[in-house]
Subunit: 359 residues, 3 copies
């Protein structure tokens, strides 16, 4: 992929100042870019780099005024940052959609329907009665169980595992090693101390525009007809645990290594940090913010709260308490000191009582 | 799979009230079931659904007295919940054992012995000198290293990885992405600040009736002849870390994302919640309960304790302390207030001393 | 592999006392070893086992004086423990390098260069423009994306996934299920509450002598030309999360289930325990020790600190505070008690004031 500066300026609806014929084949940062790369300048703090950059072109705001002589070619635009982001996206799209066609050996079961223009990597496995949409990328070592449905433009990276009956929407990206639809953790205690397995018969539904990181696990629902549900636009990071019958509301973002226990319902537009633990059967209101490593043991009913700690409460209150926690030995000493003084005063009191008694 | 209501009633040793020829092909919940499904009614709270359910049959207690007209066919049994559970189990068994036969390509090394009626999925890999019992299901992308032994009726879901020398018992289920037998984390510090790898030469033994979730890791023991051991009936959830030389006692249940450090011995019938951390070289007594996110830094000698916190102590005590923790800034203020008052009283004391001195 | 005691003594530069023709085919522990195994005695506590061991030979210190009759053959050396470790290493090397050659089916893309003596397991996948060094072991189900470079003597266990553009140095070991180069977690919030994916275009660089456990995830850097970097000699355990643009300094050791957020720079020779969380954009000084389950929310500037807690501070201070935390309800009671007494004293003060006022 190689473009001229003029071609890129055309894409960005910007104007060229300098040599429009410079060849661009990569994006870079202004302080590190080399010949053939295009960079951008948005933050004035970085302005000095523009006079020394090795980049072949720099995207700048259209009212940019150079304070020294410039050798680099410029593309003048309204908003350099979003122009650069647009280029990144175009480049990423070009990369992502490079893969296409069928590699062999791969395994395809009976009654499989696939849309046009899919990529099916070597050693990928597709079970029976599977439906795959258009432009779907199934990387090597992906496992797609029976009766799975996958929407258009979805990317399953190497080694994603979808158990039978899973439904994945359109425009989703799932990263390597993630497991969708494994059995929920359900065991009934028996009188002899052993546990009996409760069959897990539901499935997982992942709606459109969901992104899921690597080595995350989402368990299926317990009962027939029930589903663990990841709503539209949810973004899950790596190594997250989502137990059976959980529902995650739309546009909620969850960072790495967080775990959600069975049957909890997470609201919309939550921001949940890393290593958080959420107990089972809770309901978390919309727009809740949960700090790293927090443990949530009660439902959150009021929207817009920010909480932390174990069990979690208001972030500001937590940090106030924690500031005192750090000084607890000192507090303890002060308390002991007071106890001594009071004891002295008490013995004094006796004297006073005598004095008063003499009145 | 399709049965008549009468056939199911026969299985459950119940009696039919209504049309015994109704066809049943699925299980469902009474409030959601559709034609062709069978549901159950155990909780009186749900009784009103029985008058409107679309299910083809409902399992009820034999003394059930309808308070309105009923259109649905009933199966009368002693205990509707356990009857339904029995049906679930039968159904699950039918599903689980659907898979059978050999899919190609798959890889089988030298000196491999397999029992009858196994399933070996495409792209599964079996190394040399491996023994596989009867009715074992080896899903696609499973890796079985050299010298591994797998007992009867065990299910290895897609992409389970068993390193060389691992032993897995009978009636075990291991979910996708779980790794058994990877190297323990052993490195000897050198004088120049680097670390030398300590070879990890033991193995992992998993006894009968063990269930292990997805993306969990169990490391091998360090020395020859030593084993990391998961005892009979243990249930491990997803994303759990079990380090080298750990032993987990029988019927212990551990929730997701918990980690156990090297050489710790966990007792029998423990219930360990999610995201718990257990330090190395500890011994945890039988019947211990450990709360979510707890950190265990000392052995637990007395059986039957329930602990939480970091480091963990008695659950009730922890929550009492935590209740005060939440009010620490207030405590601090009260302490400061007292200090002021005492200071005043002390200056008063001087007056009193004068008064007293005047005696 | 079978050696005589004399051959082993030659390797260890020791001398034989007893039958040098005994056959040795395995290593064992002195208290458990059987015929054909060699053990060692370093700790005097274990001396009594030497008189009863079934081992065919025991490695002892050259000045060892038996206090009873001995039947076992001895190898006398300067340092029994390091001699035994040397044997372990040799054995481990022999085992590790057993695997060689090409198993089929495996997939190799265009422009792939491989050094001599590699192992390429069945169902492994190598993309386009990949360079693989000498003696590299690529186990079954490994995925190597386009443009990846792998140094000499590196071992990729079954199912390791390397995304496109990853660089792995020499003498590295990566365990099963680990994912290197997945997308960083980058999403830009939009006005309508949805998130837009920020394309992740950097890569991951793993330097020489790095060991990585199972099911760990290392995300790629966000921008072109940027890398998430794991420096020489780093040892990472299982189920660790390393976010985009993180750098881990050389010889740093990190235990299982720890997570490092985006763009943080970890110093050299850190020792980081399990389940630790490190926030984004921090700098952690060299030789820092971080206790289990700690949460790091600020940069650590001074070298050699040991910290714990959330947020973390000095380990000793933490445990002092925590000791008081455990007695907080008691502290609260004592404070309340003092408040009562002060109230009494205050009413007394009024009396005193009267008394004093009478002066």
């Amino acid at each position: 992929m190689e473009f001229t500066v003029s071609q890129i300026a055309g894409m960005l609806k910007g104007t060229v100042q300098g040599d429009g014929n410079e060849k661009i084949n990569m994006l870079g940062k202004i302080q590190e870019a080399k010949k053939g790369q295009i960079a951008f300048l948005a933050n004035p703090k970085y302005e000095h780099f523009i006079y020394t950059t090795q980049a072949s072109a720099v995207i700048v705001k259209k009212d940019f005024q150079a304070r020294k002589e410039l050798t680099v070619t410029l593309i003048l635009v309204d908003d350099p940052y979003s122009s650069f982001t647009l280029l990144l996206e175009e480049y990423h799209k070009a990369i992502s959609f490079q893969k296409s066609g069928i590699e062999e050996p791969s395994f395809v079961g009976k009654n499989v329907t696939t849309g046009k223009n899919i990529y099916r990597g070597a050693f990928s496995y597709i079970g029976n009665n599977v439906t795959v949409g258009e432009n779907v990328k199934i990387y090597p070592h992906v496992y797609v169980g029976d009766n799975v449905v996958i929407g258009d433009n979805t990317i399953l990276h190497a080694n994603v595992k979808l158990y039978a009956d899973t439904k994945v929407g359109s425009n989703c990206v799932i990263h390597s090693g993630t497991v969708i639809g494994s059995d929920g953790f359900g065991f009934a205690p028996q009188e002899d101390g052993t546990y009996k397995t409760i069959p897990q018969l539901g499935n997982v539904i992942i709606e459109d525009n969901v992104a899921i990181g690597a080595n995350t696990v989402i368990d299926c629902a317990t009962l027939f007809g029930d589903s663990t549900i990841i709503r539209k636009g949810v973004k899950l990071d790596n190594l997250i645990q989502v137990a059976h019958n959980v529902e995650i509301g739309k546009n909620t973002v969850i960072a790495a290594q967080t775990g959600i226990s069975g049957s909890s319902k997470i609201g919309e537009n939550n921001m949940i940090a890393g290593q958080v633990g959420i107990a089972g059967h809770l309901v978390i209101a919309n727009h809740t913010g949960i700090g790293a490593q927090a443990g949530i043991s009660k439902s959150i009913k009021e929207e817009g709260q920010k909480i932390i700690g174990y069990p979690a409460f208001d972030v500001k209150e937590y940090f106030k308490s924690y500031a005192v926690f750090k000084r607890l030995p000192d507090l303890n000493d002060r308390l002991r000191e007071l106890e001594k003084k009071i004891a002295q005063l008490n013995s004094l009191e006796n004297q006073v009582e005598k004095v008063g008694g003499d009145e």
